[in-house]
C-alpha cells in the first residue's frame, strides 16, 4: 500500500515549525545576505558568455577542446558531406544508425551504407553493433559545451548513447548562449508536452573511477563529433 497520506501528513505536521532562512545567520559560509524573493535569474553568477555568435562559437570550441569533443563549423552541405565521408573512411564505418530528419537524411544519403533506423521499433543488438549514431539535436550550449537532445529530436533514447561514436548535426541558430537559454528553449519547443527523455550531453562518456585517471568511453560513446552547419 502506498503511504501517500501518512507521509504528506507527517510533512505538514513537521512544517508547522518555521525554519530560519539561509543567509540570516553569521559565520563562515554565510557571507551573502538573503534575497527578498527567491532568485530566478542566475545569469549574473554563472560563468559569463558573450552575446555574439562568434563569441558563442569560440567558447563552444574552447569547451569542446577541453571535453575532447570534436567540434567543427562547416560552411555548407557540400563540406559536411566531404567531412562525413572522410570520417567514415578514417574510422572504417560499415554500418551507421540514424533517425529521420532534414540533416540526418542528407548524411545518410551522403554516406550510402547499411543503416539502422530508430524511428520506430528496432533491434537493440543491431544498434549496439553500429559504428556510429548520427543524430540531430535541440540546441548547443556555449557556456558548457553541451548538446541538448530529446527522444523527439535525436531518434529516441538509445541512439545517442549506445553506438561507440555519436555524431551530432546542428545548425548555427541552435548554438545558444547558456543553460538558462537552453531550458527556455526546451520550454518554448515542448511546452506542456515534453518528450519522455531529454538530455544534456557534455562531451563523450567518461570516468575517473580508477585512481581519478580520465578514461573516455566508460559505457557511452568514446567519441563525440559535432558538425555545426
Amino acid at each position: 500500500m502506498s503511504e501517500r497520506e501518512p507521509i504528506l501528513g507527517r510533512i505538514r505536521e513537521a512544517l508547522r515549525a518555521a525554519a530560519p532562512k539561509p543567509g540570516l545567520l553569521s559565520g563562515p559560509g554565510q557571507r551573502v545576505p538573503a534575497h527578498e524573493k527567491r532568485p530566478t535569474d542566475f545569469r549574473p553568477w554563472l560563468p559569463a558568455v558573450g552575446e555574439s555568435f562568434d563569441e558563442r562559437a569560440a567558447l563552444f570550441a574552447k569547451n569542446s577542446a577541453e571535453l575532447k569533443t570534436d567540434f567543427q563549423l562547416v560552411a555548407d552541405r557540400a563540406e559536411l558531406q566531404t567531412k562525413l565521408v572522410a570520417l567514415a573512411h578514417a574510422e572504417g564505418w560499415k554500418k551507421i544508425a540514424t533517425h529521420a530528419g532534414d540533416l540526418t537524411n542528407f548524411a545518410f544519403a551522403a554516406l550510402g551504407m547499411p543503416v539502422v533506423r530508430t524511428d520506430s521499433r528496432y533491434d537493440v543488438n543491431e544498434l549496439e553493433s553500429s559504428d556510429a549514431g548520427i543524430t540531430e539535436c535541440d540546441a548547443l550550449v556555449a557556456q558548457t559545451g553541451s548538446v541538448v537532445v530529446t527522444t523527439r529530436s535525436a531518434g529516441g533514447r538509445a541512439l545517442s548513447v549506445l553506438p561507440p561514436h555519436h555524431v551530432v548535426l546542428a545548425r548555427r541558430d541552435q548554438l545558444l548562449r547558456d543553460l538558462p537559454a537552453a531550458f527556455a528553449a526546451l520550454k518554448r519547443q515542448y511546452g506542456s508536452d515534453y518528450p519522455s527523455m531529454m538530455c544534456l550531453i557534455t562531451g563523450p562518456s567518461r570516468t575517473g573511477d580508477i585512481e581519478r585517471i580520465l578514461v573516455l568511453g566508460a559505457h557511452g560513446p568514446k567519441k563525440l563529433t559535432i558538425f555545426c552547419l
Partner: protein, 465 residues
C-alpha cells in the same frame, strides 16, 4: 559504549596511521581540489550562486508537501506509477513485487545512494534476481562485496593493481596496469548486461516539480543506458530531492558538478518524465518512481537542522573534511559518510547509537564553507552533541560540570584551585603516562604544560597596586 562506536574508534585509530591509505586519498583529492577551484573561478560569483541555491532549496523543502504533490500529479498524468514508502522495507517490498510481476531476471542499476540506504540490491538478490551495479566504481566495490567508499567516488581507496587483481579473480581477464584497459573490460562486460536486462534501477539527483521529471546525473552514460534499454525503469528518490522549476537546473547542474566532481557540468544530465510515450521508438514500457521517507520527515520536524535536507549529495564536504581524509569512508559504518553523514545518520538511525559521529569533527567549518547549498554542517554537529547530552547524560559528567560551574562562579575557589594544581603537578611524574594519571587522555600523546605559580591575575593585581 555501544559497539558501533567502538568499531568506529578502532578502525579510525588503525587507518589514521596507514600511510598507503593516506597517499591514495591525497592523490585522489589533490586532483579534485585543483579542478574544483578552477571551475569555481569560472562562476562570476560563486558565493551569490550558493546563496541562491540555498534559498531555492529552502523554498522547496519548506513547501515540500505542495511541491511533492505537483511533482507526483505531473508524473502520473503521463503514465508513471508513483509509490510512497515510509520505510526502506516498504520500498524494497514494492520493487521486489514489481520485479516478480514482470518476470524480471536481471537488473542493471545506476548508482543511487538511496539504494544503498535501503539495501535494495540485497533485497532483490534474496528474491533470486541478478543485480549488476553499472557505475564503474560501484561495479568494482560490488565485486569486492563492500559498500562504496565515497558518495561520488566509490572506489577511491583502490589502486589499479588491486582492481586488476579483482577483475582477474572475478572475471577471469588478463592482468593489466592500464586504467583504460580496465575500464574497457568493465565496458564489454556491462554492455551485455544492458542489452539483456529486464529492469533498470536509478536514483535521481533532482525531482522537478513544475514538469514532473527526475534529473539524473552520470558521467559514464550508465544512467542513460539503464533507463533506455530495459522494459521497466524504477527510480528510488528521497522526498527531499524536489526543485520547484525546470529552470532551477540551470543553477544546480553546474553547481553540483563543480562541487562534486570538479567539472563544469557532468557528462550526462538526463531528465525523465515518464515511460515511453506514444510515437517514441524506445524507452521502458513502465516507469515507477518510489518516493522514500525513511526518517526524512523526522529530520524535517527539526526546524533547527531542517537545512540538512537541502543536501544534493555532491560529496564536497567529504573532500575537505580533515576527519574523512584521515579515517576514510568505510570507518563511518554508514550509508552517508563524512560531515553530512555524521549529521544525518543520528537522525536516520537513532541518536543514541550514532552520537559518536557528532564528535568525529574538528569543528573547523571547512564542510560548511564547501557546501554548495550552505548547510550549516559544523553547527549541526554541535547541536547533535547537545541533543545527545540532553537525552542521556551520565551522572559523573553532570557532577563534573556542577563542580566546574561552582569553581568558575567563585573567584576564591578558582584561585585556590590554580594553586593546588601547581602544587599537585609537582607529583605528576609519579603517575604520568600511566592509567592512574588523571590527565591520561591528554598525556598519552601530548605533554601537559606546567601551571604557573604566578598567574596573570597575580600579575595584574601587582601592576595595579
Amino acid at each position: 559504549m555501544s559497539t558501533v562506536a567502538q568499531t568506529f574508534k578502532e578502525t579510525a585509530r588503525r587507518l589514521t596511521r596507514d600511510l598507503r591509505h593516506r597517499e591514495l586519498i591525497q592523490n585522489a583529492l589533490g586532483k579534485y581540489y585543483v579542478g574544483r577551484d578552477e571551475k569555481k573561478a569560472r562562476f562570476q560569483n560563486w558565493q551569490e550562486a550558493r546563496q541562491a541555491a540555498a534559498e531555492i532549496k529552502w523554498d522547496a523543502v519548506n513547501h515540500l508537501d505542495k511541491y511533492l504533490e505537483e511533482f507526483v500529479s505531473k508524473l502520473e498524468a503521463r503514465g508513471t506509477k508513483v509509490f510512497w514508502a515510509s520505510t526502506g522495507q516498504q520500498a524494497c517490498d514494492y520493487i521486489v513485487e514489481v520485479a516478480k510481476k514482470r518476470n524480471v531476471r536481471s537488473i542493471v542499476k545506476s548508482k543511487a545512494m538511496t539504494g544503498e540506504e535501503i539495501h535494495l540490491a540485497q533485497a532483490l538478490e534474496k528474491s533470486g534476481v541478478e543485480v549488476v551495479e553499472t557505475d564503474l566504481g560501484e561495479y568494482i566495490v560490488q565485486l569486492r562485496e563492500e559498500p562504496p567508499y565515497h558518495i561520488v567516488f566509490p572506489a577511491m581507496h583502490l589502486t589499479r593493481h588491486e582492481i586488476s587483481d579483482l577483475f582477474t579473480k572475478k572475471l577471469g581477464t588478463a592482468p593489466t596496469d592500464n586504467p583504460e584497459e580496465l575500464t574497457m573490460i568493465a565496458r564489454r562486460t556491462l554492455r551485455k548486461k544492458y542489452c539483456a536486462a529486464d529492469m533498470g534501477i536509478s536514483g535521481a539527483n533532482f525531482a522537478v516539480a513544475e514538469t514532473g521529471m527526475i534529473s539524473l546525473t552520470t558521467n559514464e552514460g550508465n544512467g542513460r543506458l539503464s533507463t533506455s534499454l530495459p522494459k521497466v525503469h524504477v527510480a528510488v528518490i528521497g522526498i527531499e530531492k524536489v526543485l520547484p522549476t525546470l529552470d532551477d537546473l540551470a543553477l544546480f547542474l553546474p553547481m553540483l558538478a563543480t562541487a562534486g566532481a570538479a567539472q563544469a557540468v557532468s557528462c550526462y544530465n538526463t531528465f525523465i518524465g515518464g515511460p515511453r510515450q506514444d510515437g517514441e521508438s524506445d524507452g521502458p514500457e513502465e516507469f515507477h518512481v518510489v518516493l522514500l521517507d525513511n526518517g526524512r520527515t523526522r529530520l524535517l520536524a527539526d526546524a533547527e537542522q531542517r537545512d540538512t535536507l537541502h543536501c544534493i549529495r555532491c560529496g564536497a564536504c567529504l573532500n575537505v573534511c580533515p576527519i574523512y581524509k584521515n579515517i576514510g569512508g568505510h570507518t563511518y559504518g554508514t550509508t552517508y559518510m563524512g560531515p553530512i553523514g555524521s549529521v544525518l545518520t543520528p537522525h536516520l538511525r537513532g541518536l543514541k547509537e550514532w552520537k559518536h559521529l557528532s564528535f568525529a569533527s574538528s569543528l573547523c567549518g571547512a564542510c560548511t564553507e564547501a557546501c554548495p547549498v550552505k548547510i550549516d554542517l559544523h553547527h549541526h554537529l554541535l547541536q547533535n552533541r547537545r541533543n545527545a547530552i540532553r537525552c542521556a547524560s551520565p551522572w559523573w559528567e553532570k557532577l563534573i560540570f556542577k563542580g566546574f560551574v561552582t569553581l568558575m562562579n567563585h573567584p576564591a575557589f578558582y584561585r585556590l584551585g590554580v594553586k593546588l594544581g601547581w602544587f599537585g603537578q609537582k607529583f605528576h611524574w609519579l603517575v604520568k603516562g600511566t592509567r592512574l594519571d588523571p590527565m591520561y587522555a591528554w598525556t598519552q600523546s601530548r605533554e601537559a604544560p606546567p601551571l604557573a605559580l604566578h598567574t596573570f591575575k597575580d600579575y595584574w593585581r601587582r601592576k595595579k597596586s
